[in-house]
Symmetry: C2
Subunit: 369 residues, 2 copies
């Protein structure tokens, strides 16, 4: 199916480069065109797990929160203890509503005591942050800065990054970052990513330099077999990574997602805390878990599919894909808690008929750090 192009669908600074490199499909993410695959989803995946790949993920927009009250606002908006995040550190966190429903699952970067980025999943959580800041009369700026990340992911990502940026890459710890100026172009370089493979992100802070950065990475990566790629449904499902809008939305809470480790119920106060305390006491009603689906390879699901146990619908399958590495159909189901116990036999209603599926804990493949 075609996608129509209008100015409402924003173009990333790497858009021209992705066209030159043969992008074949897009989705829309945070009002921006996000490349999906080049050769094919399977071929791109093989490059990702074998060599090294560069992804245009500029659509992963930032909410920048800066000013004297920035720390207080970020703490109030997110579920983890902000004071445990050092300058130069990144942390996966959650934004919840008053009922404890998940509004976004950003990666937070702390650039200074009073300067944060929330690197976003697909919605306008900046509007939520701006409204809270305005209503609380906080001394803080909440804006979308000119910051566009590329991901460099795969087993040879360290070699590529060292070739591109030299020694400064060597000392960046997992979920840590450095600010850098390279040939006058301001960058942030982090040991983060959304692949489950070893990887980096390069955050371009000057949208006019997209071609420069893209081609610098490809020049540096040529000896390592670099290829253009995009967020891989195959690898992220193997790795148990969740996708906002697909695997979670405001009707789902962190406990149902097994993300309670992202909720710090200690001294800090944040939106949703009271609801999450109660959910913790009562226990979640549903649980998200992995499934292996029997039978021939399934391409992927474009919608949620009903999941049954003993003839009764107990929830939905949110994501699935065929893993060439594991030789199996892998997926996630969000089901009644009892149906999520490891080894439970479920029935998934695919558009092509019913399939047996057996639950197992996530991830299917451990994340490489």
């Amino acid at each position: 199916m075609k996608i129509g192009l209008t100015p409402r669908l924003r173009r990333s600074p790497f858009y021209a480069a992705t066209l030159r490199h043969g992008v074949k499909a897009f989705t829309v993410y945070n009002h921006m065109l996000l490349p999906l695959w080049y050769e094919s989803p399977e071929a791109d995946y093989l490059k990702l797990i074998t060599d090294v790949t560069v992804w245009d993920v500029a659509a992963q927009r930032q909410v920048e929160i800066q000013g004297p009250d920035a720390r207080d606002l970020v703490q109030y908006l997110t579920t983890r203890n902000v004071d445990k995040c050092a300058i130069g550190q990144a942390r996966y966190t959650l934004v919840c509503n008053a009922e404890g429903g998940v509004l976004n699952d950003p990666v937070m970067l702390r650039l200074a005591d009073d300067h944060f980025w929330l690197s976003l999943a697909d919605n306008d959580i900046g509007l939520w942050a701006q409204a809270v800041a305005f209503e609380r009369d906080l001394d803080v700026a909440v804006r979308e800065p000119d910051v566009s990340p590329l991901q460099v992911q795969g087993p040879k990502s360290h070699e590529l990054m060292t070739a591109a940026f030299g020694d400064m890459v060597r000392d960046i710890g997992y979920y840590r970052f450095v600010e850098a100026d390279v040939e006058g172009v301001p960058l942030v370089i982090s040991r983060t990513g959304w692949s489950g493979e070893v990887g980096y992100e390069v955050w371009l802070r000057d949208g006019s330099k997209g071609d420069w950065l893209w081609e610098r990475l490809f020049a540096a990566g040529e000896p390592f077999g670099v290829a253009p790629a995009a967020p891989s449904q195959i690898r992220r499902i193997e790795g148990g990574l969740l996708s906002y809008g697909t695997d979670m939305d405001p009707t789902v809470n962190p406990h149902e997602l097994n993300l309670a480790w992202l909720v710090d119920l200690d001294e800090n106060d944040f939106i949703g805390k009271a609801a999450l305390l109660q959910i913790q006491e009562e226990g979640p009603k549903r649980s998200l878990t992995g499934v292996r689906i029997e039978g021939d390879p399934i391409d992927s699901n474009a919608e949620h599919w009903d999941v049954s146990r003993d003839g009764h619908v107990v929830g939905v399958l949110t994501s699935c894909v065929y893993s060439p590495t594991l030789g199996a159909n892998l997926g996630y189901v969000l089901v009644e808690r009892a149906a999520a116990a490891a080894g439970t036999e479920l029935v998934v209603a695919t558009p092509d008929g019913e399939r047996t599926a057996v639950t197992q804990p996530l991830p299917f493949v451990e994340t490489k750090k």
Copy 2:
């Protein structure tokens, strides 16, 4: 270019019907797939201005605001005087931020004293509304209801609607609506739309009945030459209708858009009022106006294009299209105020070279009511 389909891109209740009827391209709007054209943009336009067309605009999602404090919240969020909107009336309005920038340009429907829908342009303004309601501790529910509009637009829309729903359609005034139960399916029927032609919207309040409603309209419309279509870039630009994300965003204020008539600066208080009072006093710095662009037909613009006057960039072209009816390239420019005076000669930097353009007031074609 292809679009990849995942559950994150929601499907409308009319999705299956649009596929059956031959939809050829989609965009993404409010996280939902929105059909763009069937035969071709030009052929669909000719059906729209000649006969009658049915559009799946379920992606025009609603923020439902209901409860004892609903009136106060809607007034605080929007720029027009809510008390001048009767029950059963719809009004085009604006949501602004504290700086007076436009966050959304919804159509508001008042279903009861304490019950409103804001029918949205493309962003998650529900998050803004929920944060304000939460922070102000208002006694109100803010949610996305199961409400999916279809537009029935074109000179024969009245005949189609009367054939489909009978006499109740006859008395619906312009920008008025009725609630109806048809064969047990709850609907709202309004004399509204986004075409510039005479038209209606049918708001389906039961997402499981999409096929039923679509086929009922096509059965009723068969004698009138009904065709599937979608929001028409050609007709909306002829009619001077603005598209959020293309012609405006939070950096633009209502005065720059010549939408000051949507701002009631009387006794009511709302977010952005103080800033808009100041802008009104000082006068806007820029202005959006129409242009005719000389030369061969231009397909449309997928990005903003720079606009110059006497060799200096004075702004951007936000939208343009070739109008078969007027035999001219029509567009909008957002430029320094002096450059917007009618009859000003400008130069538009298209990807295929410079074109001369001459400003003229909007609309190019009067809206039919």
